[in-house]
Subunit: 251 residues, 2 copies
């Protein structure tokens, strides 16, 4: 089950309609490389990626850059609009993207009208935090080949779920340079690493597509454990998250 399906399942039909309408009404396009949010700004909108990928990143004063997270289509970037005074990271378009940017007023009204929406947004933030933890151990403890393999597994699983057997294909919009920024490696070393993955796992990375013939093999190499993605927990979200986010009205 993909993230998108999970989100949709938690809203009532009426809520889903409101939500989709709001997304459509506020959709904007940006060319690749555009900064949507810059570190230190006051959050001004609730952003949801509709198509294309978006990256969260941070930079050190001397320019070293770390990609912190990837936001895939259907996912909200963050809840900063409702939480912090100033954003602590930047967000930019990996490639041409469509993003819904819902202003404060509309977003607040939307949440008012859709009691389950806060829950869904909160859930997405919870999962994002879990992914962030996995990235921490990825960069901190795994070797180069494990890191790249693990990221490939994650990106595949987030789009297609974990395949029961065999493998498949999925979008992969990162250049090797971006792959390097995400894994804390060099572009040159990522290149050699990808080549080794080609040799050892027959992984193919071409034309913005990733092909994994044997997912289990790649997952073993990466010590990939999909538990942190919390896939398939959708049905239980409502009863757990309920107390925290106030009343639930499933009609």
């Amino acid at each position: 089950m993909t993230f998108n399906q999970i989100l949709n399942r938690l809203l009532t039909p009426r809520e889903r309609m409101n939500w989709e309408a709001s997304l459509a009404r506020n959709a904007r396009e940006y060319p690749k490389g555009t900064d949507l949010v810059r570190e230190g700004e006051r959050p001004a909108a609730l952003r949801v990626v509709l198509s294309g990928w978006v990256q969260k990143y941070k930079q050190l004063p001397d320019g070293r850059r770390q990609i912190l997270a990837l936001v895939l289509p259907g996912q909200p970037c963050d809840l900063d609009l409702f939480t912090v005074v100033r954003t602590d990271h930047s967000i930019s378009a990996i490639r041409r993207v469509t993003v819904a940017e819902i202003g404060r007023q509309e977003a607040t009204a939307l949440i008012e009208q859709c009691p389950n929406l806060a829950m869904v947004l909160g859930w997405s933030e919870i999962v994002a935090a879990a992914v962030q933890r996995e990235w921490t151990i990825n960069i901190g403890q795994r070797s180069a080949i494990e890191r790249v393999a693990q990221l490939m597994c994650e990106i595949f699983a987030r789009q297609r779920g974990v395949p029961a057997a065999g493998g498949g294909e999925c979008d992969f919009l990162l250049t090797q340079w971006q792959l390097a920024e995400a894994t804390g490696l060099t572009q040159v070393h990522v290149n050699r690493t990808v080549q080794e993955l080609r040799r050892r796992c027959a992984v193919e990375l071409r034309n913005l597509r990733l092909h994994i013939p044997d997912f289990a093999q790649l997952a073993r190499l990466a010590a990939f454990n999909p538990a942190y993605l919390h896939l398939g927990e959708a049905d239980l979200v409502a009863e757990r998250v309920g107390p925290l986010f106030g009343r639930i009205d499933r009609s």
Copy 2:
């Protein structure tokens, strides 16, 4: 302003009383090294550290370990009780700790009775996520000496705030081995790094205390920017987080 003060400020006196009473009633002690939560378990309690430090960590199958986060006194470990089906990381006591473990029933009732509590807990989770992001760039992009320096700055700032001038002392309960697991380095290399920090910034690390004579100097070396800790945003939390977590009743 420390995290603890922020939390207290957001609750009404009555709420604070309920909260404190619940913490006191559920306090437990654990010797150092005890696992409070193991990866894969179903969350059973809302945990708040009362004294001592607690670490969140993850392990790879072969034993490599990454410390993901530190929970200092006054802070809740996580909201997993209200969010996920199974926890994706482990939690253990760094040293002898006192932790309040509030069961599901009581925790739910408590949130019911204290409308602002959900907001406070949510806020702590938001800040924890921001810290996690900073750790990601720390491990991914900073050199060994920068990493250790930045972690020292963070730990100092989380306890004492950012000093306007000069420096000071604070608790520092990590061994060099744990410092290594938190920064993705080796214990041996951390040792040499700490020695270099002693030489270059006169930082002293002894008897579980950290002494930083010149905070600004250390912060410069580490490229430490305290913005990600979101200190001093307390007064604004209520109006922002409100819409997300339902009604606010400040009486």
